[in-house]
């Protein structure tokens, strides 16, 4: 198996003050450019796992490494830097700063990450062109690029968020229930655009959802309850 982009080993995580582990995962790997569909029922710890993958939370024991760098080896500020350099993040909703234009929202990671800014420059485009490229890649018309984010529809906002996650081509895009606010048609269009954009950016995608109908679009499907030994233990105990 090739060296993974994202490697997780013997991870155990419990929320502070909680007697039980929330997550207990033996191993999980994501290769560069791979698309992974992570599913599980509500409250099974999907968002917590994403926070661990993005180095927002640190596990009590075990390793989570992104691009060969173990999150736990970095200080808080270095984690912030490593995250913005290598991870694009899409939330369920409310992804954007409402007072910035769509384009300014897309360019935010380039303001904080030199690496993402330089990656954009390598495409021999100006920063704005790069932002517009990904907006167009997510099927957004030029007429909305300069509009304030709060005037956009929810579907448009999610596309802007996806463009922002991809700008500067980070190795990993994490999407936390990005389609839950969209109806079925828009969900399918959004996923088509997102998957082809990730392919173009050569970014791996880890997408979390409880909606298994979309699973077949992904390279791999992972069920969190199946790999989470803590959930099995809780169920066995019950």
């Amino acid at each position: 198996m090739p060296a993974g982009l994202l490697e997780l080993q013997d991870l155990r995580f419990a929320w502070p003050g909680s007697a039980h582990d929330c997550l207990d995962i033996a191993a999980l790997q994501v290769a560069a450019g791979e698309t992974v569909f992570l599913h599980g029922p509500s409250g099974c710890g999907k968002s917590t796992l994403l926070s661990l993958l993005a180095g927002v939370l640190l596990p009590q024991s075990g390793r989570v490494a992104l691009g060969g760098v173990h999150w736990g080896d970095l200080r808080a500020s270095a984690r912030d830097r490593h995250r913005v350099d290598h991870v694009g993040y899409i939330f369920q909703q409310f992804n954007l700063l409402p007072y910035l234009t769509a384009l300014d929202n897309v360019l935010l990671p380039c303001r904080f990450s030199t690496r993402r800014r330089e990656a954009a420059a390598r495409n021999q485009r100006s920063l704005r062109d790069e932002g517009q490229h990904w907006l167009a890649g997510m099927g957004l018309d030029a007429s909305v690029w300069e509009r304030p984010a709060h005037t956009l529809s929810v579907g448009q906002q999610q596309r802007v968020a996806a463009a922002r996650a991809l700008v500067g081509q980070p190795g990993l895009v994490i999407a936390d229930e990005p389609t839950s606010a969209l109806d079925e048609d828009r969900r399918d269009i959004f996923l088509d655009l997102l998957l082809s954009a990730c392919d173009q950016a050569r970014s791996a995608l880890v997408l979390v959802s409880h909606d298994r109908r979309i699973a077949q679009r992904f390279g791999r499907e992972v069920s969190l309850p199946q790999i989470n030994r803590a959930a099995a233990a809780a169920e066995g105990g019950a």
């Binding site: 926070s51 912030d80 939330f91 990671p109």
Partner: protein
């Protein structure tokens, strides 16, 4: 790299919440207005107060309280219980060390403005502020019996010009109890330049004129059946019989206590003399307690508005958790979040202070005529005091600190929330 970007972001974020923040800015503006305004009023009150008379070594009057003597001799407020005889004034002149004596006679008024009977020497010797002499803006001193020289404020308020004829009323106050001296009108021959002292509100006539308008009066009322017209009065002996008080200047200030002793032990009638500076300080001590209370009050207003600033930012924090989480997700570190909130606090405080200063300038410009007319007080915007700068700096620091606390909380929240705020 990001300082400019963060500033722009802070500005746009604040603009997005401008209606809530406007309230905070207004409350900071109010406390700036209160603090600086109070300090301005206090300073100018004190300086206009202590500049009311200078260059006079002693004020002499009948025995009374020193504050009372100061009030009627300098501020033309209140009334003397007793007058001093003209012979005493003449005797004062002959005391060793006395350079000049300017008698003052009060008791009449014109439309509520006090009338002062004095000698032409008044214009030579009276000083105010930093030893500044009186100057005539227009016209000349009184020369004829029925000439009057008016102060700048009086001229402005009543719209008087040179050559206009006015009549004086008996007694003080706008309600004329006694009656008037309509039979002996005065001609305005001079208008004094503004001094910012009670002189501005005073009509000056000669002692003889004051005598003339009262020749056919006795104990505060016209003598029935006896009318002496203005021209007849000219022929009479108009040497005053008594005056209210006298300003005394010495050849050598060092002699002031010896002259004071001589006056206080004057044989012919009971007199007292006061040092104007000492009496002014005594009077200010009485007024000063209120002034400190005002300063304390405006300090409390500032405190309340800082608490308001803090609570508005704190209350807004929950709705901003998403915004902060988005920023964290796109790579902003907690230090950026903290910087953003501190910048916002600084912007708010600066805007509030600027607004407060603008309001103060506008307020002072608008209210100066009214203050001058009603209180004889002119506020000087240009003259800043060290305390004013200190207050400004204090407001800035306090406002900024008040915004740091919510900033710190946001920092903690954004650390705890990670990338997905639990709202």
């Amino acid at each position: 790299m990001k300082a400019g970007f963060l500033l722009g972001l802070a500005w746009r974020s604040a603009w997005n919440r401008r209606f809530t923040l406007a309230l905070t800015v207004c409350s900071i503006a109010l406390s700036t207005f209160m603090l600086l305004g109070m300090e301005r009023v206090r300073t100018d009150l004190r300086s206009s107060f202590s500049s009311a008379v200078s260059g006079t070594d002693l004020i002499v009057g009948a025995r009374t309280g020193s504050t009372q003597l100061l009030l009627y001799a300098v501020f033309h407020v209140g009334a003397a219980t007793n007058n001093i005889r003209w012979s005493s004034v003449e005797a004062l002149q002959k005391l060793r060390g006395v350079a000049w004596v300017v008698p003052l006679s009060l008791g009449d008024s014109h439309q509520g403005f006090p009338v002062l009977g004095t000698t032409p020497a008044y214009f030579d010797h009276f000083r105010y502020g930093e030893q500044q002499p009186l100057t005539l803006r227009e016209g000349r001193r009184f020369a004829d019996l029925y000439d009057v020289v008016i102060g700048a404020e009086l001229a402005e308020r009543l719209g008087y010009r040179l050559g206009q004829r006015i009549t004086l009323a008996h007694g003080m106050g706008e309600v004329q109890l006694g009656g008037d001296h309509a039979d002996k009108p005065f001609t305005i021959t001079g208008i004094l330049a503004r001094t910012g002292t009670p002189v501005d509100r005073t009509a000056h006539i000669s002692l003889e004129a004051l005598e003339a308008i009262h020749v056919d009066w006795t104990v505060g009322a016209p003598l029935p059946g006896r009318r002496i017209d203005a021209e007849q009065a000219r022929a009479m002996d108009l040497t005053p019989r008594s005056v209210t008080a006298a300003l005394v200047g010495l050849h050598n200030r060092a002699a002031v206590f010896s002259v004071q002793r001589q006056v206080n032990g004057f044989g012919a009638e009971p007199l007292m003399s006061i040092l104007p500076g000492v009496a002014l300080d005594e009077l200010w001590d009485v007024v000063g307690a209120g002034e400190k209370a005002l300063l304390l009050m405006s300090g409390l207003v500032a405190l309340v508005s800082m608490a308001g600033l803090m609570s508005v930012i704190l209350a807004g924090l929950n709705e901003r958790r998403r915004e902060l989480a988005v920023l964290r997700a796109v790579g902003a570190g907690p230090q950026h979040v903290l910087a953003l909130l501190a910048l916002e606090g600084m912007l708010l405080t600066l805007a509030g202070i600027a607004l407060g200063i603008v309001a103060l300038v506008a307020g002072v410009v608008a209210s100066n005529p009214w203050l001058q007319a009603n209180f004889g007080l002119t506020l000087h915007l240009g003259q800043t005091t060290p305390l004013q700068w200190l207050l400004l700096a204090g407001l800035l620091v306090a406002g900024w600190l008040a915004s740091l606390l919510p900033g710190w909380r946001a920092y903690r929240l954004s650390l705890a929330d990670g990338l997905s705020p639990r709202i």
